[in-house]
């Protein structure tokens, strides 16, 4: 699959011709007025990418006045509903799948099925399902990324450890790491969702993708024994002291110094974590990646690969320009550019784009296309209805800090499930 990047090079050249045609077409549209964009790409690298992208779009449409507002990614999650109804921009960031459902149902997102007609549909085929509800498409993806374990290669070498292929190996590695006076994993769970990542993986490895999907879909009680088995596996790590102390006080960004300084040796995170770790001084000789290992032997590997998206609020004023912007975002050329290692450092959604020649991106691409036969989930807080996700992730955090409270936590989650999925 690494050959994709080489092979696609020629395709890209060919495609860029096509896109140029498309761009020329856009130009003739003579977009004017204001284009208001609300974005949640507030971390330094994504922010720069977003600003660069709107700038390039603006240069193509000199008469269009683009107003970009970048909102803190965490705050955005609580604001979106507010501004979609009260003060809709023309374009807004969001996430795919279940996470967009409430806004689709409330009629706050514009049906953009027209954008998906023809060529785009083929180019973005792999993500179409995640953007589809009720047989219509409600936005376009702009990036997706793998999750997995990023670890300190140099420390592993020093301790003579290998990438674990099973949970038992992961634990024995961890013991060796702990014995060397380090922590196995860093995590910052202040904003809860990082704990969701751990639950996703341990549950998908323990019970499989289908069970996980049923659980996040509200079909299985949280008090089920299989759920408890997941927590029992997780608890082994917690009881070992695998995680850094006080993780509940840190954001994921604030948890990075532990791995950068070598006080912890690994982190389970999405590929967006690579950029700040590199910036912190971890080059490819020190940082490496492995897929979360098997737990139950007979369970096929499944992965989290969240897709981030752009939408047009139904209350947008300049929908024409918004559509042009969405087309521009998903164009093969732009996809190659914004997802490369210098920008987002993630995977392009357009099949005709090339995956950047970057160690982690290539590994992630291979993992997702060849080694995730179990299925690909979005992420805990995207597969679960928002209110359930919020209650559940709070419980997950509590479990990580006070594992003895498990029964109480599960009872609470079950109570919430019965109310929310009603």
């Amino acid at each position: 699959m690494c050959s994709v990047s080489k092979a696609s090079l020629t395709v890209v050249t060919a495609m860029s011709l096509l896109t140029n045609v498309a761009l020329a077409q856009d130009k003739t549209e003579k977009l004017s007025g204001e284009l208001i964009i609300f974005s949640d790409m507030s971390n330094p690298a994504p922010r720069a990418t977003m600003e660069g992208m709107t700038k390039r779009f603006g240069e193509m449409h000199p008469d269009l006045e683009i107003k970009l507002t970048v909102i803190d990614r965490e705050a955005y999650k609580t604001q979106i509903r507010n501004f979609l109804s009260a003060n809709p921009p023309d374009v807004a960031n969001w996430y795919a799948a279940n996470r967009m459902k409430p806004y689709v149902e409330a009629g706050l997102f514009e049906d953009v099925s027209d954008l998906w007609e023809g060529q785009i549909s083929e180019e973005l085929g792999s993500t179409k399902a995640a953007m589809t509800l009720d047989g219509k498409q409600w936005g376009v993806p702009y990036t997706y990324y793998q999750w997995g374990v990023y670890y300190r290669k140099d420390v592993y070498e020093e301790l003579g450890l290998l990438e674990p292929g099973t949970f038992a190996e992961l634990k024995s590695n961890c013991q060796a790491i702990l014995d060397s006076g380090r922590k196995c994993f860093t995590i910052g769970s202040k904003f809860l969702w990082t704990a969701g990542g751990w639950f996703d993986y341990i549950n998908m490895r323990t019970n499989g993708y289908d069970f996980h999907a049923a659980l996040t879909g509200g079909e299985i009680p949280w008090t089920d024994d299989r759920v408890k088995a997941t927590f029992a596996n997780w608890r082994e790590l917690i009881d070992m002291g695998a995680y850094v102390d006080n993780h509940q006080s840190y954001s994921w960004q604030e948890s990075l110094p532990f791995i950068v300084k070598g006080e912890a040796t690994a982190i389970l995170i999405g590929n967006f974590g690579v950029a700040p770790m590199r910036e912190g001084g971890l080059d490819d000789s020190k940082l490496d990646f492995y897929q979360f290992p098997k737990i139950a032997e007979d369970v096929a590997l499944a992965e989290d690969a969240p897709t981030d998206t752009f939408h047009i609020p139904s209350g947008a004023k300049n929908k024409e320009a918004a559509r042009a912007f969405l087309r521009f975002v998903v164009s093969a050329e732009n996809q190659t550019l914004i997802n490369n290692g210098k920008n987002l450092g993630q995977l392009p959604v357009n099949a005709n784009s090339s995956v950047d020649d970057d160690k982690f991106l290539k590994e992630g691409f291979v993992m997702l296309s060849a080694n995730s036969s179990g299925g690909v989930a979005q992420f805990f807080d995207r597969d679960t209805p928002a209110e359930m996700a919020s209650v559940a992730m709070e419980g997950l955090q509590e479990f990580m800090v006070l594992p003895d409270n498990l029964d109480d936590i599960l009872a609470r989650l079950e109570q919430a499930r019965q109310r929310i999925y009603k």
Binding site: K77, S85, F191, Q248, P385, A386, G395
Partner: protein, 308 residues
Amino acid sequence: MTPTAMPTTEYKKLRSLNKRNEIAITPWLFLAPGVLFFLFYVIFPIFQSFDVSLYQWDGLGEARYVGLANYQELVNDRAFEISLWNNLKWLVLYLLAIPAGLFIALFLNQTVTGIRLYKSLFFFPFVISQIVVGLVFSWFYDPTFGLLNVMLGWVGLGPINVLGDPQTVTYGIIAAGLWPQTAYCMILYLTGLNAVDPEQIEAGRLDGAKGARMLWYIILPQLKPATFIAFVVTIIGALRSFDLISIMTNGGPFGSSRVLSFYMFEKALSEYGFRMGYGAAIAVVLFLIMLVFIAYFLWSMFQEERGR
């Protein structure tokens, strides 16, 4: 304006009638803009909130009347229960600002050189926004590099993670809130101390009253107005504790530092929320708690007004 000619008695009568009418009408003209504005933005919304709390409403579509269902749900809502308890902690512990403020005021009520600057600098935390206070304190408490743990280290204690432990988090935030609140109470008492009658102090001294006895029997009674205001602003401050929680812990870890004001906001305006009715029900509960104090304040003021 003053008429030059001597007015006839009739003219005088007419004029005084006019004047009386003028006096009767003028206050209403002066009040109208302020009162209307206040009614529109403050008084009516209170009643509207009561109304909204009886509906299930996501802020967008049709509101559905559900009677008291929102309140019934509150009863079984553990997060609500935790918030309520935390509110109680806030109410009780926040009052510590009053004695603490008095203590500092007594400490600073001197006339040594530079004391004015000292007083200003002690008062300083009150002027800073709670957002900044929250940030400052979350770094102060930070388990890795926070000054608190550095200081605990000096005496061989710690490290502790104040904001990460459900047992301590609320106290940690209250302590942060006490910082500016104590400064506020301090300034109230400093002014109060300025006005204490020196003759009474002298008389007390002659009677042999000293230190604590003097404070209790002679000074404190004269500081009663300051204490009353300190009490009022502290109670209000305690029930309005939103900024600090939002910035320091966002209600966490796992919801253990929520209070009603924060929980209400979370339910009504966060991503998964927009449960306007449920949020309004929480707000109503908070309002009713506040109402007890408001009634008390107004009653005290009313007594005082009558005493005039």
